[in-house]
């Protein structure tokens, strides 16, 4: 068994909203992609699923920074998540998955993992 990673085109620059997030559907489930034009890197992505409520809503949170770290606030119960590490500021034992995301020309690429069963020799 081995894990391969894929770079998938998920949307274009026109789909992004500056200083805010959008949600995309991937093989691994919903992912929130944030466009922060005044930071480097300007694109970050984390799981769209809010671990406290179970609802897919993190892309709809308010972004910003706390102590210099980029964050998003969950729109439901207002916990903050570090957009670089996925760690919840209010409860460090909670962490959401982070993803690599790239700008390639006009396209936005997201890295996802796919676990494949290797063919067993007959």
């Amino acid at each position: 068994m081995k894990t391969r990673t894929f770079w998938n085109t998920i949307c274009t620059v026109d789909d992004l909203v500056p200083e805010s997030g959008i949600a995309v559907w991937t093989e691994e489930g919903p992912v929130a992609v944030f466009y922060l034009p005044h930071r480097l890197p300007a694109l970050v992505a984390i799981s769209h699923k809010d671990p406290f409520s179970g609802a897919n809503v993190l892309a709809r949170g308010i972004t910003g920074d706390l102590g210099g770290e980029p964050i998003v606030a969950s729109p439901l119960y207002k916990q903050h998540f570090n957009l670089k590490t996925g760690v919840c500021l209010e409860d460090e034992s909670v962490r959401v998955k982070t993803y690599s995301v790239l700008l390639d020309g006009n396209r936005i690429l997201l890295e996802t993992r796919e676990t494949q069963q290797e063919a067993v020799a007959a």
Binding site: K49, P70, H80
Partner: protein
Amino acid sequence: MSNKTLIVIGNGMVGHHFLEQFVASPAASGYDILVFGEEKQRAYDRVHLSEYFTGSTHSDLAMGTADWYSEHGIQLRLHEQVTALNPDQRSVTTPKGDYGYDELVLATGSFPFVPPIEGREHPHCFVYRTLEDLDAIRHSAQKGKSGVVVGGGLLGLEAANALKSLGLQAHVVEFAPRLMPVQLDTDGGALLRHKIEELGVQVHTEKATTSIVEGENARIRMNFSDDSHLETDLIVFSAGIRPQDTLARASGLSVGERGGIVVNDQCTTSDPHIHAIGECALWNQKIFGLVAPGYTMARTLAAILNGDRDAAFTGADMSTKLKLLGVDVGSIGDAHGQTPGARNIRFNDEQAGHYRRMVVSEDGKTLLGAILVGDNSHYDSLLQYALNGITLPHNPETLILPENQGGAPALGPDALPETASICSCHNVTKGDICCAIDAGCVDLPSVKAETKASTGCGGCTSLLKNLVDNELEKRGVAVNKDLCEHFPYSRQELFHLVKVNGIRTFRTLISQHGKGQGCDICKPAVGSILATCWNEHILATDHVPLQDTNDTFMANMQKNGTYSIVPRIPGGEITPDKLIVLGEVAKEYDLYTKITGGQRVDLFGATLSELPEIWEKLIAAGFETGHAYGKSLRTVKSCVGNTWCRYGVQDSVGMAIVLENRYKGLRAPHKVKMAVSGCTRECAEAQSKDFGVIATENGWNLYVCGNGGMRPRHADLFATDLSDEALIRTIDRVVMFYVRTADRLQRTSVWMENLEGGLDYLKQVVLEDSLSICAELEEHMNSIADTYQCEWKTAVEDPEKRKRFREFVNLPEQKDPVQQWTTERGQRRPVLESV
């Protein structure tokens, strides 16, 4: 050297308080301490005894833990009654043996007085003193329908409340012509009676019970001296207390003629090694039936045993403040004006149900006593005047007049002397509080932990909070008013920066006046300020990322990530056709439908991508957004008014619609609610709103700054008999002044309470234009009303804005798998998989 022995008889509140004080003193290490308690349980809070019927248990009410006793080496012998004192041998006797002592403390308390009425031994007659009494009453009440309390004093009314909470029809039988004869006068007693009867407790005064016999329709019949009678299922005697002095009396200690163990200022009895504290002690011919004086005696005695020769008990303040059956009652000092030359000032508002009486000295300079019924908000100030001898203002009546009739604001903590007693239970003065703050306490909980203030009866809670806040502020510990780490300004200051400098975007504001990228505190606050100042669409590109999620998608997010939709229904008036459209849309999208408290319809369960489609349909039918998602005007509730109602005096629906259309869309520091009632019956509940309008024969009365919710507040009467134009002008001014000066997420009530000068100041600004800003406020409001747009209409017409409403931008047809549904009472509701 072997230790001496200290014996304490009685494990009640005062006995326990004495132990707490004593073990904390150096002398304690020289004593072995032995405590006898007659009851099965450790000391508990008798002041809150009736909470036992509403769910509290012994451990909730307990004063200390078993561990506390063992940690301090105190031997606690419960359920072991002392049967004799032997002062000559310095020993006490119990059924289990004799115990020697060096010092003996009697904290035996009191027992309830049961008048010598024939038949009082009936098995359904009780007293109200211990947890066991309460268990017996509860048992008896299970099969009963009604209960009588004999005695209309403080404890009797408490007992009546307990009977009521057990589901019984409660009666109070009082010998005197009025309730609480010791604390209240005729008018105060009458008002209290009226209020208590309104709560369903029947009061019978001037009734002397002559006999108790078997009843015909209930268990018991009480016969009265005036030949009337009353049938009931159980009786609770609460006709006063008598000091428990049996042991002292039998052992030859001095006792008073009417009971009570005689003590001197050192709380020592006629035997120098025996001391008495609390309700069993008779000091200066007085028995003190309250907990605070008992605590003072306990502290005095602990100091004496610790070698403090100056410690002395010099009497205690018997002022009382409590809520009886939910009715405020307060009694301070010489409430009956028995001091020679005393004069009275009375305020009696029978409509509001407020009675206040001040007893002032002959020269009018000192407050001797006071009575309050129906509203205790003046108690703290009056008590401080009385206790500390603070010179009364020139017009002392202003102290008890309502603020809008020229009443003086409450006495601020700054006016109190250092010696002012803040908490009389634990004898904490203003000076003690200030010391605790100087020693490092920086908030209310730490001050309470350090000084114990406000941990007794709790009557001083609000005064303590004011004092602590005020002192912290004076020391510059002032609560940091910065909005967040990105802006070193309050909301009001940011408003000025935006307005004065013409700033139109968050980015400009933060780069010129803040730092960093912003956060979920400052972004929505600034978004709201920009909207108030410039009234641009909240989904304009620059403003989108500022909005809370509800504003961003102009709907209210629910727990599973779907949204609810509330179209505006001004004044709650809706045509059948529009109502049908709501039903059709709800049906088409399978939306859970509920009527709101604000006379609108809430449609739940729309997905993000459904929102624009749904709104297209609603807009086509003539609906507008209801701003249920915004910090802005929600609804203007109304009653049907004089068009239909035979009592109405004005067209309340018409006015509600005018107001709703004028203020809709205005962004504010918090949500704003309004209501219009067509007559004084107040069916629209206008007095619980930020702006409440009540019709009069001559126009409209305006009430401001009320709210419901967690901390309900009645709105204050602001102006009377206004014409339509004057009403709108006045609301324009108040609402714009609020929007400009309030803090983030501050409702109008808190905003007004925090304005220096409060309601009076607000009236000066708005009605007298003391700041000369009224023209500007009106103009600003006009410009907002003129630039109103339905946010949803603009959004559905703009393809760029609609792009935001895609659930997943790369797969438009993909449903969110988390959103699962079931059916309940014929409608859809969410099921959320467990996290």
